[in-house]
């Protein structure tokens, strides 16, 4: 039995399989949240956001999405990426209570991490992680082992947290970046994410041995699967980022209106 989803090379089966490492990970996230917020009043809305973030991670990491993405389909691997790096982090960050964050920010070790919330650093780090974790040698080298697969998933999650922090910036005593900067930050990201999309969608050959040599699922050839992966990144990633851009525009509009009133 595997504790974390990794490529096994065995034929795909729709029979349920248990991945206890994923359950432990999800439980630890919940436990950490409880400890972090136990002396703080947390509005139900924030608790819901955090729970949705954890649920998103659970869906992405557990059977069947986790297993299909780890060893069978590059397109599902890309769905995992979207869920772990682009969808779960903003929900998790938006679920953190500001009072608890204020306390944590005053801790010396945590305050040293502040430069990481600089938009330029976060942007460069996130896209460096995207390129590194989609590099064929890295994917093929990591996906065959449970530890490697865990490392890849964690790097997506940490990269996503880094990426979304300057956009959501939940610490109230630190000035938020202006709306224009945050919107520009996200628009630049949509452009940068075009690069892996182009490589995946228009490549002449399958990039990843893991998925090219995997037992087939759903009658897709490796080439078709890879093209769908590129489209998932382009359309799914674009949908998430443009939704966030739309929300920021709406907030900006409301803020401007409030000032005029």
């Amino acid at each position: 039995m595997q504790w974390w989803c990794a490529a096994q090379g065995i034929p795909w089966s729709w029979s349920w399989r248990a991945y206890p490492g994923v359950w432990i990970f999800v439980a630890l996230l919940g436990l950490a949240y409880w400890r972090f917020t136990r002396n703080t009043h947390v509005p139900p809305q924030r608790r819901t956001r955090f729970a949705l973030g954890v649920a998103t991670l659970w869906i992405a990491l557990d059977w069947p999405v986790g297993a299909l993405g780890a060893g069978y389909l590059a397109s599902i691997h890309m769905v995992q990426f979207l869920l772990i790096a682009l969808l779960a982090p903003p929900l998790l960050i938006a679920g953190l209570p500001t009072a608890a964050l204020q306390r944590a920010a005053s801790v010396r070790g945590v305050s040293r991490l502040r430069p990481l919330s600089n938009p330029l650093i976060a942007l460069l780090a996130f896209h460096a992680i995207i390129i590194a974790t989609h590099w064929p040698g890295v994917v093929d080298g990591l996906m065959g082992s449970q530890l490697g697969s865990l490392g890849l998933d964690l790097s997506w999650l940490l990269g996503g947290m880094l990426f979304w922090w300057p956009v959501i910036s939940p610490v109230p005593h630190r000035p938020r970046f202006p709306f224009g900067v945050r919107i520009g930050y996200l628009i630049v990201s949509t452009v940068l994410m075009t690069l892996p999309y182009v490589f995946l969608t228009f490549a002449q050959l399958p990039f990843y041995a893991t998925y090219e040599l995997a037992p087939p699922v759903g009658g897709l050839s490796a080439g078709e699967d890879q093209r769908i992966a590129g489209l998932v990144m382009r359309l799914g990633g674009g949908a998430i980022l443009w939704t966030a851009i739309g929300v920021l525009f709406w907030q900006w509009y409301r803020a401007e209106n409030a000032l005029e009133v």
């Binding site: 002449q204 050959l205 050839s221």
Partner: protein
């Protein structure tokens, strides 16, 4: 004997991608040998004399079965993608012959339908399992082994352990190279022009004799 058997259920990506003496990424045979001269029925029910029907062509011969959950569809899918990338003239010089190792389930109609899912030009052959195993022996491959059913309620649900390599045979009937599972499209794309060049050379040599 070349030990290249793998039961379905295991992908062995143990391919050495360092190029051989003439640059092939497949397992090039140090000493070529004569392909077996055998005859089986094709999916139309017509007799297919292997040597006569493949003379002059670069032939890729594969023993497998249509219910195979991993090796067979992956091997054929990858090869099909590489063949599609060949120029039309080159593509016409290549024949793919698939011999079933599961004649009990692989009826000619089922085999035809399955192969058409990859390429309608792929040739499917059926026969008695004992005869097919004899033919595999002549190609220095181990015999196919029918596993016990993996579902007690479905006696037809079984796997067949079989040799995984695709055998490359030039038009002069010489077995030149083997392509075990783990071969990628890029490997085929690299080797097919080399095999076709080898085929032309062999055809020229045999024509000159």
């Amino acid at each position: 004997m070349l030990v290249l058997c793998a039961a379905c259920g295991q992908v062995d990506d143990g391919v050495d991608r360092s190029e051989g003496a003439d640059g092939l990424r497949g397992l090039e045979l140090e000493e070529t040998f004569e392909a077996a001269d055998f005859s089986l029925l094709d999916t139309q029910g017509d007799r297919f004399d292997f040597r006569a029907e493949t003379e002059g062509a670069l032939t890729l011969l594969f023993f497998g079965y249509t219910h195979c959950p991993d090796i067979c569809p992956v091997q054929l899918s990858i090869l099909d993608a590489a063949l599609t990338d060949l120029a039309y003239v080159q593509r016409q010089q290549v024949k793919l012959v698939f011999v079933t190792t599961d004649p009990a389930r692989d009826t000619p109609a089922r085999l035809r339908e399955w192969l058409d899912g990859f390429d309608t030009s792929f040739i499917g052959l059926v026969g008695e399992l004992d005869r097919i195993n004899e033919i595999q022996g002549e190609f220095r491959l181990p015999p196919a082994v029918i596993d016990p059913p993996h579902d007690a309620n479905a006696p037809d649900a079984y796997y067949v352990g079989h040799a995984t390599p695709i055998i490359a045979i030039t038009g002069d009937g010489q077995v030149r190279a083997l392509y075990p599972s783990g071969i990628r499209q890029s490997d085929w794309q690299h080797d097919l022009p080399l095999l076709l060049a080898l085929n032309s050379t062999a055809a020229g040599a045999s024509g000159g004799q």
